[in-house]
């Protein structure tokens, strides 16, 4: 009897230890990655990294300034197109979406959300690059927008649905027109949640590489127009990483540090937004 009790207790201890271990193993890579980023990127983390253009192999110095600007440009373009499309679609689904059409749209958004990002690169290439006969920021942005849209549609819909019916009914009872109620009361109540969704989606597309490989292509110089190839940090990190030059490896790590800082700042701001609301 006691031996059974002992065994039960021991099993309990062992399993608890295993659960603790698995939590530890899940978190461990994060620390390893951050450590390596700082350790290996430190040498190249200089001011010039943020202000200079890339230099050819063997020339000292150089930076990823054009990539930083390019990343912001392509992300900004994708958002400029994606936000209205996604937020209004989200409003439609949350406020009016009861019929068959809404179910079809919801299904499409679900499909879109699961599409591997590389396939959206093909989309951008076939839709823009081939007909326009050039690689461009537009093509890159349209591929990124396809990643951005489903995420924001979903969060918008979810957030609007969390707004209590009483809020809507109260406004309607006051004689406020329905569209005004939706736009200025319901949407506003859910605004922090929607913005959080937008920022998280932005953080996601900021770091995307695969859809840009054959749409934005890359550029060693400052961008000269949205209809031209454009540099982005993830593309630069990729091409530096697979290069055989040690100083370029350093640049890849340093570029990765810059990229991850941008992503972290966005995610943290997003999280703070929801927290202050609560």
């Amino acid at each position: 009897m006691t031996s059974i009790a002992f065994r039960r207790k021991a099993t309990d201890r062992i399993m608890k230890a295993l659960f603790l271990l698995s939590a530890f193993l899940v978190i461990l890579p994060l620390f390893l990655i951050f450590f390596d980023l700082l350790w290996k990127g430190a040498k190249e983390l200089k001011w010039s990294l943020l202000t200079d253009l890339p230099r050819p192999v063997g020339e000292p110095g150089g930076g990823i300034a054009n990539g930083i600007l390019g990343t912001l440009t392509v992300t900004g373009l994708a958002m400029a197109g994606g936000i209205p499309l996604a937020v209004l679609t989200g409003i439609y689904l949350a406020e009016y979406g009861k019929g068959a059409f809404a179910s079809v749209v919801r299904f499409a958004v679900d499909l879109l959300a699961g599409v591997p990002s590389i396939i959206l690169g093909i989309f951008g290439y076939v839709l823009w690059v081939l007909p326009m006969k050039r690689f461009s920021a537009w093509a890159g942005a349209s591929a990124l927008a396809m990643i951005f849209i489903p995420i924001v549609v979903r969060t918008t819909e979810e957030m609007l649905k969390t707004v209590p019916v009483s809020v809507r009914e109260g406004a309607l009872a006051l004689g406020i027109e329905r569209w005004k109620t939706t736009l200025f009361i319901t949407v506003r109540t859910a605004a922090a949640g929607i913005i959080t969704g937008i920022l998280l989606a932005m953080a996601r597309i900021l770091g995307e590489t695969a859809p840009l490989l054959f749409t934005a292509l890359g550029n060693q110089f400052w961008q000269t127009g949205l209809d031209q190839p454009i540099a982005t940090i993830p593309l630069q990190v990729f091409s530096y990483a697979i290069s055989p030059y040690d100083d370029w490896h350093g640049k890849a790590w340093a570029g990765a540090v810059v990229l991850i800082l941008m992503v972290l700042v966005l995610s943290t701001v997003a999280r703070l937004l929801t927290r202050t609301r609560k």
Binding site: P56, L69, R134, P244
Partner: protein
């Protein structure tokens, strides 16, 4: 809310507009985009960097996506010029919307590189041994076919890890063209091309990728452009040329191979330099070309391109040797100058 939203939108619009323009100059420089071969990328990045410094009005954006990519993108017209280390085949040229010029820019050697602790450059490989390694028939570094020619070297019984290009590549074309020339079995089983169905090995993307994998992997052997091998201080094999000498890839042995070819250069410059005659010539060499349409679609870009090509054939050639690319022989440069005069916009020469 509405006001704030509107303000936000306006700021956002301004940001996008700003982002779309050049921060350094109100009217941005002309961008000419090219893509293709990774083989001459160190040279081209140097050329374009220097040229844009001395000619502030124009930027040449070159992305090294592989020779196959250069041909693909120039065919689709998505870039202003292509670059390739493999001449376009007649079949490929038939798909083009118009005639194209192959402008030779440099001559390079493909070095066979390896990662064997303790064995430096100069491992001697016969054409047979090389072909059998790449066919997967020789799998250990101490195989007698390698060891018998390298009595002094300490070759361990480690596995040979073969690294080839995963992308369509002119370097692959030059290398497989060589294997095709020296090995009947290779010719029958694999053949020549920018990308082939490799019997064994790992794929790396670009010359960069292959040298990266070879450097990271003990026991690896691969083929990369000489400049990549040298810059990365990789160990290179000495290959036996057709006159029976083991020759290391170098600027001299490449120029030796090129000298012979200059005499027989065809008018369209599409020529193979592998297994060239000459006592000291390195057997795996090739030309690399820029691909330019004879009839340009955009006058300004066409003009910039022709001026650049003229610069590249004269001033640019001085940059070749320090980066270990053999310059184009003088007699060939004269022929290229004549060819450049054919490039035109609406029938008018841009030279």
């Amino acid at each position: 809310m509405k006001k704030r939203f509107g303000l936000g939108l306006a700021l956002f619009g301004i940001a996008v507009w700003f982002a779309g323009t050049n921060p350094a100059r109100a009217a941005g420089p002309l961008t000419v985009t090219g893509a293709g071969a990774t083989f001459p990328y160190p040279l081209y990045s140097k050329w374009f960097y220097e040229y844009s410094n001395s000619h502030p009005g124009v930027n040449f954006n070159y992305q090294s996506i592989g020779s196959g990519g250069g041909i693909r993108q120039i065919t689709a017209g998505t870039v202003d010029f292509g670059a390739s280390d493999a001449p376009m085949t007649d079949e490929e040229m038939a798909k083009l919307p118009g005639p194209i010029l192959h402008i030779p820019t440099a001559i390079g050697a493909v070095a066979v590189v390896y990662h064997l602790g303790g064995v430096g450059s100069g491992l001697r490989l016969t054409p047979d041994a090389l072909a059998e390694i790449f066919l997967g028939k020789i799998t250990k570094w101490n195989d007698p076919k390698i060891a018998s020619h390298n009595p002094g070297a300490k070759l361990a019984g480690s596995d040979i890890v073969l690294v080839h290009r995963s992308d369509g590549s002119g370097t692959t074309d030059i290398f497989t063209n060589y294997l095709n020339t020296v090995s009947a079995e290779w010719k029958e089983k694999v053949g020549r091309g920018k990308s082939v169905n490799w019997p064994v090995g790992l794929g790396g993307k670009g010359n960069e990728g292959v040298s990266g994998v070879v450097k990271q992997t003990p026991g690896a052997i691969g083929y990369v452009e000489l400049a990549y091998a040298t810059q990365n201080r990789m160990a290179m094999a000495a290959l036996r040329n057709r006159e029976g000498h083991f020759v290391l890839p170098s600027l001299e042995s490449t120029s030796e191979a090129a000298a012979g070819a200059a005499k027989t250069m065809p008018a369209d410059f599409r020529v193979s330099l592998v297994d060239a005659p000459g006592k000291d010539s390195y057997p795996v060499c090739g030309l690399t070309w820029l691909l330019v349409y004879r009839d340009q679609r955009d006058e300004a870009k066409g003009k910039a391109l022709v001026s650049f090509l003229a610069w590249a054939m004269h001033d640019g050639q001085k940059r070749n040797a320090p980066l270990l690319y053999a310059p184009i022989p003088k007699t060939v440069v004269e022929k290229v100058d004549i060819a450049l005069k054919q490039i035109r916009y609406k029938g008018k020469s841009l030279y």
